[in-house]
Structures are given as structure tokens and as C-alpha cells.
Symmetry: C2
Subunit: 143 residues, 2 copies
DNA sequence: ATCATTTCCTTAACATGTTAATTGTTGCTA
DNA sequence: TAGCAACAATTAACATGTTAAGGAAATGAT
């Protein structure tokens, strides 16, 4: 059994694809002063509403220590609020603010355009195939 | 134009797929004391031989500042050597050492087994399709 | 009730990602 | 040849990834 050439390595291909996809998104976000991960958290909050930190981390595909820092940053910027659960005081709820929602609303069209460009590049059918194949590699998605 | 649900977001799907693929590889590497990126650099050096830093960064899919730090770490561990180009003293050449090669030789079978498992999960045909689609997203690959 | 365990979250430590500024070297050119 | 643009590499600064340790609160067993 032998390793494939690095040019056909799955981990490297995933990194490069991600880089290709994220480059225009990062460029778009640079005007807003928030990072890719902060954008991801805001998007999840905009989609699902108030969430406890654990669920938020899971749906944002972030490790918990990362989320702790990102939530602190977003709170300082006034884009989210954090409140303790009165029933279980270990828990925190995180919610997007009006200012946070404004970021999402203002930039969503551009983000959607970027996604549409990639869909067009691959073709709609290939695009769906790709998402399905990627999901098969996500071993944590058994739910 | 609207953003897809985060569950069908291409960037998030790429992150999760990468996480799924890398988890067993990281586990394997944890026994060796080197990181995923250090492993990647050693693999490229093992495949292509002595390389200048720029080419090495490119083939390892690393940004230059990252490579600077990783090369320093690998040099301290005795897995690579760095030499200046006598003709152009700005340039550095980086080469794998016998100890570095030993890491590759010892762990390649396990790494290949992990890759083979993912190939089996997806099926050989899907696996090739996936690599092709990922390559189409890599906008930096026009060479 | 008490204590060990579990759970949620934070903090710490180190490595990498990312962008920008800086240093040293080469090459060009006026 | 003096000066400037271009290039290779490093360093800096900040954010995130990753693993481990720690603290506070809830849970469960005895």
C-alpha cells in the first residue's frame, strides 16, 4: 500500500478547494471587519435564532474554545448578546443583535453571488454531487 | 438571490469533510510528535527531493510565513536541513534528512490505510469524481 | 445529604492561518 | 554607479485550530 502523490491527496485537495472557495468570501468580508468564522457564527444565529453555546459551536463547525473567543469578540463589537440560562446556570444563550443582523442582510447578496459563481463553474448537478460526497466524509454527521 | 442553509453551505461542507478526513490522520501523527502540516512538508520533500522554499510552500499548500515557522521547527527536530543558494543568496533550499525520511517510511503504511478506508467508503469511482470536482474549485491551479 | 461523576464553559499553551511591515539581496536603469 | 523596483525570506500582530487542564454547576449513586 502506497500513499498517493501529493497532487492527488485528499486532504490537500480539500485544503486547496477550501482556499479557492474562501478567497473571494474573505475579500468580501474584509470590508466588514469581521472574519470568516465570525461571519459563520452570525449566519447560523440568523438562521436558527437564539442558541445555546454548545449547539452554536456544533452548527458553526467550531471547536468550543474557538467559539468562546469568537463570542467574546462579537459581543465587544455589539453583534451578539450572551445570557445565562436561569434553569441551568452553566449554560449560555447567544443571540444576534440588530447590528449583527444588519451585517448579514447587507452582505448576503454578495455572498450568494459568490456561491452562485461556483455553482455555475461546476454545474448544478456536479455541485449537488460534490456536497453529497463531502457529507459522506463527515464522520461526525450521524444524526 | 439567497444564501443556502448552512447545512448545504459549500465552505462549511469543506470544513467538515476535512475534519472527518484529518481526524484519523491526526490521531496517527500524534504518536510521532509532528503535526499535520509538518507531515505534509516532509511528504512533499520525500516526493520531490530538495526544493527551494517557495516551491515547497506552494506544493505543501502553505503560506510562506507558515512555512518559515514549520521549517524552523523541523530543522530543530533534525528532520530537514536548510542551505542558502550560493548563486542567489536570498534563496533557501530545504532537504529532508535521513531521520525525516524515516518518519515518512514508518508511517506511510498507516496513512495509506486511512486513505484506502475513505476510498472504500466512497467507492473508487466517487473518490476520483470527488478529487476532480475539488480540483475545479482550486482557482490557483492554472498551471 | 455527600461525594464522585458528568456537563458546560473558560483558560492556557502551542501551532498554524492571514495580512502587513521589514530586512537583505538582486537586477534594472537612468 | 547610484538609486529604485522587484524578489525571497523573516518577523510581527492578531485570529483561529487543537489539546489539555481547570472551574462552576448539575446529576447520580450510596
Amino acid at each position: 500500500m502506497q500513499l498517493p502523490s501529493t497532487s492527488r491527496s485528499l486532504p490537500i485537495a480539500l485544503i486547496r478547494a477550501r482556499e479557492g472557495v474562501m478567497a473571494p468570501i474573505r475579500e468580501m468580508l474584509s470590508e466588514t471587519g469581521i472574519t470568516e468564522q465570525q461571519w459563520r457564527v452570525l449566519r447560523v444565529l440568523a438562521e436558527f435564532g437564539k442558541l445555546d453555546a454548545k449547539t452554536l459551536a456544533d452548527r458553526s463547525s467550531l471547536l468550543f474554545p474557538s467559539l468562546t473567543r469568537i463570542a467574546a469578540t462579537l459581543r465587544e463589537k455589539g453583534f451578539v448578546t450572551q445570557t445565562r440560562d436561569s434553569k441551568d446556570r452553566r449554560r449560555q444563550f447567544i443571540e444576534i443583535t440588530a447590528n449583527g443582523q444588519r451585517i448579514i442582510d447587507e452582505r448576503s447578496p454578495q455572498a450568494a453571488q459568490i456561491v452562485a459563481n461556483f455553482q455555475a463553474t461546476l454545474g448544478a448537478e456536479n455541485y449537488e454531487t460534490l456536497l453529497d460526497l463531502l457529507a459522506m466524509l463527515d464522520t461526525g454527521a450521524h444524526d
